[in-house]
Every structure is written in C-alpha cells, then in structure tokens.
C-alpha cells in the first residue's frame, strides 16, 4: 500500500492546528508558488495532470487558463465544499483534519489566477467543519499566512465561509454561485462559463476541496512526481475514496488513481460484507457496475470506458441480499426531491419515474413499464441546463440494463423478499 499524501497526518491529534500543520507540512508549496509567475503555476498544474475531484474530472490547470489575465477588476476563487453527492464524505476529512492544507491550496490557486478573494461554500450540516475552518482562517490571518500582505509577499488573500442550507443542486458550480449571491440555487445556462462570468459577474474559478488540497504537494514536490502516481499522466495522483454500504470497514481511503476496485475494498475497506452484486463507483449519479467490472481500475478514463464515471469517487457496495429495485427507486426519489425545477425534462421526468416505480412497488406494474421508463430516461439526457437530469437517467438506465430480470420480477410481483 502506498503512503497516503493528503491524509498522511490525519491521525495526528494536532493536524488541524497551525502548529501541527507547520510541523507536518510547513507551507512549502505556497512559499515556492510565491516565487513563481502565475503562468508557470498554471503550467505546472497542467503538467501534473490534476483533474477535478468534485465530480466532472475536468483538468484543473486548463480550467484556470480560461480566466482572462488582464481582467480589470476582481476575480474570485470559490471552493466547493458542498459535498452533497450521496455516498460522499471525503472533503469533510480534509476540512476537519487538514484545514490549512486546503487554505494553502486556495492561496496557490489564487496566485495562479490573480484573485484576492476566496469564498468557501460548505454544506449547512457541516457545522463542525465550518467551525474548524473558521478557526483555521482566523489563526492563519493572525500569524500572517493569510490576509493583507501575507508572508510579506505583497499579496493579499481574504477567505470567507458561507454555509449552504440543504440543497444538493448548490453543489453544481453555477447553482453554487447563484446561492452564494443570495439567490435560489438555480444552475445557469452556459456559456458564459464561470471562468469569464461567475460570482457577481466576475471571472471565477470553482474548485473542489480535494482538488485544491492536492496543490501544495504538486507545487512543492513537482508535477513529475505527481503525474508518476496513478494509472497514467491523465489519471494521476491519489484519490480519496469514501466507501460505504456492504463492506466490513466503511470509511475514507486514499489510494492511487487506478487501483482496482476489488483490491481497494479488500486491502483498505476490510473486504466485502456478503457477496457483492452491484457497486456504485462514484456517487449515486454514477451508473452502477455489476460483477463483470469489479476489477476495474478506479480512474476517470477507465470508468468512462465502462460507461460509468469516477464522479466524487464515492463507492457504495450492495450485496446479494439487497433489493436493487429498491435502491434504484431510492436514487430516483433523491433526484426528484433535489431537482431545482427549471427544466421540464428534469422536473417532470424525475417525478414521473418515481411515480411509476412506486406503482410497481405497490404490485401494480404493467406490461411496457420497462420500455416506458427507458423512454422517459432517454429524454432526460442532454436536454437540460445542468447534468442532474442526466445523472438520474443514466443511473436508472444502468440499473435496468444490468439487472433487467430483477426489474421484470418487480413489475410482475411488486416487492420481493429482500425489500
């Protein structure tokens, strides 16, 4: 097992204090970045192969390069700490145990794009996380690692925290920006992308907590070192994998990208609990895998090739005693509840699918229901403002495709004995 990077010191009881962070890490990355030109930081991050850990896997350096360099006026960094994708509980570990690593990463990103203001949007339920982060910001400012002329660099960086209030859609980056502006979290039509017109209409980069926490290590140890970890230079570095469901030891495990799924469960999560039948590899928006894919390398491109996605890296294991129709319905209900309602295919489609599946559950399945569900779901893909709709449709279609017999059985008989 390789030594973890981001989570190396999380069991140190002082890891979340400035003293602990200075002892363990010491802001080496930020100090180095302060001596670099912004475009060199961007190039270094591009060369590292770092891709977003929030869900979409977009190359981080490339995203930054879309921010106009000579924009007259403020630019913003927004940190996505909304962690709402069901199955996901990894950013919380960094927030609560390594808040200074996140702050250092934010500072590096801010240097790269030329921002002085950063906004952390943290999910409302993470009261403890917001408290730890708030203290870390205060301490960093007092000790000159943040704020005006931090580290005597002639640069300023001000970090604030906004707590979300229980809306999954505010994890979607433009929904998040709307929410941060004091509005309902309705995702925006793109273009324009946030890089040119984001928070308050200004150029904005939205990055996930884990993505930013990779930066201090990339800058201090170099792009080459980072890109040599993982499957290949396009799937590089380690990943935090939150593992839950039918495993012996649920938890967050850091492993190189590309680790085979089964090995991750066996070597890190204590092994399967019962015989696994279905595994969701990247949060509930990610299409489900069946046993043909249990050895799959856990990286962005391998999962895309298997018609699923790495998403947030959240793994949910369902064993043979679980009713997969029930899990699929629960996922559809989640999306129906969380659809923001702007687009009809999403608003109506999620609700309609939920109603059909509830009817089937009550023993009133009809011939043609399977086709009807597939038809509705297909109409929800590529037709809406954001991909919540696609996530719902693709998840359900994968359950139907891989476990069709189980769906047919439920259409005939309603609940099964495993319900």
């Amino acid at each position: 097992m390789m030594e973890p990077i981001l989570t190396k010191f999380v069991s140190d009881p002082e890891s979340y204090t400035l003293k602990g962070y200075l002892k363990n890490w010491g802001f080496e990355g930020l100090k180095k970045a302060l001596k670099m030109k912004p475009e060199d930081i961007i190039e270094e991050v591009k060369a590292s192969g770092l891709r977003g850990r929030g869900g979409a896997g977009f190359p981080t350096g490339l995203k930054w390069s879309f921010v106009p360099k000579d924009f007259p006026g403020p630019k913003y960094i927004v940190i996505n700490a909304d962690e709402g994708e069901p199955g996901t509980f990894k950013d919380k570990v960094i927030i609560e145990k390594e808040p200074f690593m996140l702050l250092e990463g934010i500072a590096i990103a801010a240097l790269a794009i030329g921002a002085e203001d950063a906004f952390i949007y943290i999910r409302g339920e993470f009261v403890e996380g917001a408290r730890v982060l708030g203290n870390a910001i205060k301490e960093a400012e007092e000790e000159g690692y943040l704020g005006k002329n931090y580290l005597n660099s002639g640069k300023n960086l001000y970090v604030r925290i906004t707590r979300g209030a229980g809306a999954y859609i505010c994890g979607e980056e433009t929904g998040l920006i709307e929410s941060l502006e004091g509005k309902r979290g309705h995702p925006r039509l793109r273009p324009p992308f946030p890089a040119t017109k984001g928070f308050l209409g200004k150029p904005t980069v939205v990055n996930n907590v884990e993505t930013l926490s990779c930066l201090p290590h990339i800058i201090s140890k170099g792009a080459q070192w980072f890109s040599s970890i993982g499957s290949n230079p396009k799937n590089s570095g380690t990943k935090l994998f939150p593992v839950s469901g039918d495993v012996k030891k649920p938890g967050v495990y850091e492993a190189p990208l590309g680790i085979p799924l089964k090995q991750l469960i066996e070597d890190y999560a204590g092994g399967f609990d019962g015989k696994p039948r279905a595994i969701i590899p990247g949060g509930v928006s990610a299409p489900v895998l069946d046993e043909r894919d249990f050895e799959i390398p856990m990286d962005f491109d391998s999962l895309l090739n298997a018609k699923s996605m790495l998403g947030s890296g959240a793994i949910i294991v369902l064993n043979e005693k679980r009713c997969l129709f029930r899990s699929a319905l629960r996922i559809v209900s989640f999306f129906a509840e969380e659809s923001c309602g702007q687009c009809s295919p999403c608003r109506e489609g999620t609700r309609w699918l939920e109603l059909i599946m509830e009817r089937i559950r009550e023993g009133e399945g009809r011939e043609g229901d399977l086709e009807l569900m597939k038809d509705i779901a297909s109409g929800m893909i590529g037709t809406t403002i954001c991909v919540l709709s696609d996530g719902c449709a693709m998840s359900l279609l994968s359950f139907i495709e891989k476990f069709e017999e189980e769906f047919k059985m439920h259409i005939g008989e309603g609940k099964c004995q495993n319900w």
Binding site: P74, E83, G84, E85, P86, G87, T88, F89, K92, D117, R123, G124, E125, F126, V127, E128, R160, T162, R163, G164, A165, G166, A167, Y168, S179, L180, E181, G182, K183, R184, G185, L200, P242, V243, S244, G245, D246, P250, G251, V252, I280, V284, A314, I316, L318, R322, R326, S327, R330, I331, F334, E337, E338
Partner: protein, 156 residues
C-alpha cells in the same frame, strides 16, 4: 418586531456579516442562518427584518429561504432529529428506524411532538455514510444508530 429578543446583538453580528461580502445580497444565506440561530425559525418578523436590512422585498427573501430545506418557518423541537434514508443508510435499516421513531412519538416525519420537545425530519445523504444509518441530533452526528437508540432518545 418587538417580539424579536436580542435584536441589538443580532444587528451587530448582521453588520459584520454584511461587511464580509462584496455585495449586500451575498450575505442573505448567512443572515438567514444567523436569524434561525437567534430565534429558532424564519417567521414573518424575521423575513421583514432581513428584507429591510438588505433592502430586498419580503417576498424575495421568502422565495430564497423556501428554496432551502434547512430554513424552517416554524419552530422545530428542542431536540431536532434529522434522519438520512439515502441508499447507504436505507440498506442499513434507516427506514425501520424512522418508522419506529414515528410510532413512539406519535408524529410523522416533518412534525413536532405535542410538548415541543422532539421533531423529526427525513433528509437526504448527510455526508456521513460510513456511520450508516446515521442521524443528526441538532448539530451533532450520531451513528450507526439502531432501534435501541430510538428508545433512548424518546425517553429523554
């Protein structure tokens, strides 16, 4: 608005929050959180207060607040239990726990017990699936919980 206790204190904190953002409106969610901490819910008086403070219409403030599930328009119980029933918690028995809670308290999810002591709310993934089935008791996570836990919390 005389019914809002501690208004002066609130003003001080609200002004600090407003100052922290480059735009007044951006402090709306923070002000809603602050007010709910102060007065337990977002009632008409609170909506009025915030709308005046931020120079927004009351209907705008209400429209935003109602989009978010964590803002309540009526007081919750002294002990507010949020129970996750998403996939990882569902397979570990979250729905059975919810049912038992509802039975024992004689209320449905979303409701408050008659004495105002306990309320329950069914929620989506709480971001703590390693502790499934997991609940939040006010601001604290507890889990994994079981049917015995229900007995304990109900007898409190």
């Amino acid at each position: 608005m005389g019914r809002l206790e501690g208004l002066q204190d609130w003003e001080v904190k609200a002004n600090d929050l407003i100052k922290a953002y480059p735009d007044r409106k951006a402090s709306l969610l923070p002000l809603l959180h602050l007010s709910q901490e102060f007065w337990g819910c977002i009632n008409e008086d609170v909506i009025d207060l915030i709308s005046k403070k931020l120079k927004l219409t009351p209907s705008y403030v209400y429209g935003v607040a109602s989009f978010y599930t964590m803002y309540h328009f009526e007081r919750k119980g002294k002990i507010h239990i949020r129970i996750c029933t998403n996939v990882s918690c569902q397979i570990k028995g979250a729905e059975e726990i919810l049912k038992k809670l509802e039975e024992k308290l004689g209320i449905k999810e979303g409701g408050v017990s008659e004495d105002g002591k306990i309320s329950i709310e069914k929620v989506e993934c709480l971001g703590a699936c390693d502790r499934a089935p997991v609940v939040m008791v006010n601001d604290h996570y507890e889990g994994p919980v079981d049917l015995e836990w229900v007995e304990k919390i109900v007898s409190q």
